[in-house]
Symmetry: none
Subunit: 412 residues, 2 copies
Amino acid sequence: MNNELHSLRVNSDRMRAAFDELAQIGATGDGGINRPTFNEAHLAARAWFREQIENSGLEFSTDGAGNHSAVLSFDQPKTLLLGSHLDSVPAGGRFDGALGVMAAFEVLKTIRDAGLKLKFNLEAMDFTDEEGTLVGMIGSGALAGRLHRDLLQNPRGGRQALVEGMKRAGLTEEDILRVARPQESLAGYLEVHIEQGKRLERAGIDIGIVSAIVGIWSYRLSFIGRADHAGTTTMEDRRDASLGSSAFTLAAREIVMNDFPNCVANVGHMEFAPGAFNIVPARVDVRLEFRSPDEEEFKQLDAALLERARQEARRFGLELEVEFLGKHSPALMSDQVQSLFGESCHALGLSHMSLISGAGHDGQSFDGLFPVGMIFVPSKDGASHSAREFTEWTDCVNGANVLLQTTLKLAM
Amino acid sequence: MNNELHSLRVNSDRMRAAFDELAQIGATGDGGINRPTFNEAHLAARAWFREQIENSGLEFSTDGAGNHSAVLSFDQPKTLLLGSHLDSVPAGGRFDGALGVMAAFEVLKTIRDAGLKLKFNLEAMDFTDEEGTLVGMIGSGALAGRLHRDLLQNPRGGRQALVEGMKRAGLTEEDILRVARPQESLAGYLEVHIEQGKRLERAGIDIGIVSAIVGIWSYRLSFIGRADHAGTTTMEDRRDASLGSSAFTLAAREIVMNDFPNCVANVGHMEFAPGAFNIVPARVDVRLEFRSPDEEEFKQLDAALLERARQEARRFGLELEVEFLGKHSPALMSDQVQSLFGESCHALGLSHMSLISGAGHDGQSFDGLFPVGMIFVPSKDGASHSAREFTEWTDCVNGANVLLQTTLKLAM
């Protein structure tokens, strides 16, 4: 690239005006937003984005999965996707997803204004339902041709919520399942996102270059004992399901911290039955998920956790039922894109470090299909999925400029 | 008493027909019943009992606390209460409480049929909410004048459940608090109940004569951490409420088994918030109860458990909120009644032994007001608060005959 291109920067003020306007839609009054997929505020944010695109002179595009995008076409056979999502978790923050869409949109406007001609068309995406209010990554999964009909039949937010949501957004199941794009039409996917953790902030580093997005495996583990009268049954005679679930919860943490430092595990819920003060718990259902960036490590952690669950069940005279609830596989980011991100940071005078993403992102949907790259900007106190979420505007602009420079490196 | 009275026996077939009919109401299909206070089945059982009383020719009586009773009046100033309760724990057994009410009802019919004239009126009680779905011993506590207004404001089953339950049963708080009977109008309280333990079965003894009923203290302990993203928050950075609740649950068992061999403790329920797979638990509410036959031991166990809860909260960086949910004090049974129970057993050719009751019972409500006595019949395998609960019919009839004979000894 020539020097003029190296010195190209996004328009910080224009990007901020758009970002701040978007943050008003579904604002909860405490700095956060509430835009779960297809609620009123989310539909309003989508309509606002469409209007912004149409007013910008870029081309508006949508598909059967409700993905919205701004297109900057150079009449090329391949398109490089940039973007993120406008939906949020309930009572979420205003940066998660929104920053990535606004940065991508600004990058397209900057390149259009500079009058450049690239070898790939550019498209700034707002992917549908990244956060999983209804299904999780509906938009990117559908575009990749990897959204299974089964998943729509038994979605994690419940079938009724999905049906009602699709109706509000004017989508149909058949349309959603028909939006897959030919692999050869896509050149790659780049995303900028807040870190949702404290690693950049602690290290005082400007940009995190994601090397992998962790996978997630989830289980329901049921420790099964016997309901008995909590006054008349001696401690020795009990088969108390709470002892298995409690011992396992403590042990899972020890296993991960001692032997799997790249992984995390969470017992997010326990359901007690019958659940009365005066009855020894007969059954405790434990909701377990664990995450790893590596498929081999997953197998080892899985074996270690399940073996420990069996041991703790045996120790307290309990049965163990194991129900596997599915998984998202880990995704490796493109080496080439990681290297170009690093060069862009260097050229922009920004420090950078390699990070694993502990959260899921739309890039996972494209694993193995075409090059995927992702960068993080620092999150204050690591706050995430919360109104406390905050990133300095300088960091937001840094992310957008790394996205711009890397887009140019890939597409010139 | 003359020989004719000594040979008086309950009508086993009539009592069984009533017992079996009652066991159909709220039957869960596995031998158990589900009649938590004022659920649909419990209201149906109460209506059925009322109809049985009215059809029997005995007098039906009820009060502002929803106690139902059959009255056999001899126009005496004092009444001897017999009885138990028709409510059950969730998914409970068909003998707990129901046997005592049916035995008391049958004793009244037997005495009425024999044309006897006693020095006390007799009343076969179904006391409201013995099991504590809402508050615990509402009916007997109210009748004793010992139900405090505070307890109704902050009941262990939650205020909303109490308000809705009272509404379904047509009760009001003011009415409940007005049903206390004058102490001088009551001659005593006798109850037959299943043992809910294995001591009689193991010893091969027919009848257990209760010497004392243990007290119960209950708490809600809330371990409070912080909700965080379960993917992006390192294990070290978490303040995971489930760790405090789990460590406490295991520790409570150790404390009781090692240092308080006469006591028991139970963690019957944990409530997780927010309760999602992918969010670190911010708060776990633990339902704890513990029991002791001795007031001094209660204080020591209480101190040991709360100190340990504080320690475990500190260890995992959590806050601890402690909410005392009330107590039932231990109660000593009347020496005179215990002795008369023994004489009745002897006359009936039944073996007997003295036992402490690990379960709470309505008799506790009357401690110190008038003589209280209680007998147990054997429970197969000690099963209790469970569909597996079972007592041989011969043992049920033995209990009813001891109740009959002891009633005659007290009231002739």
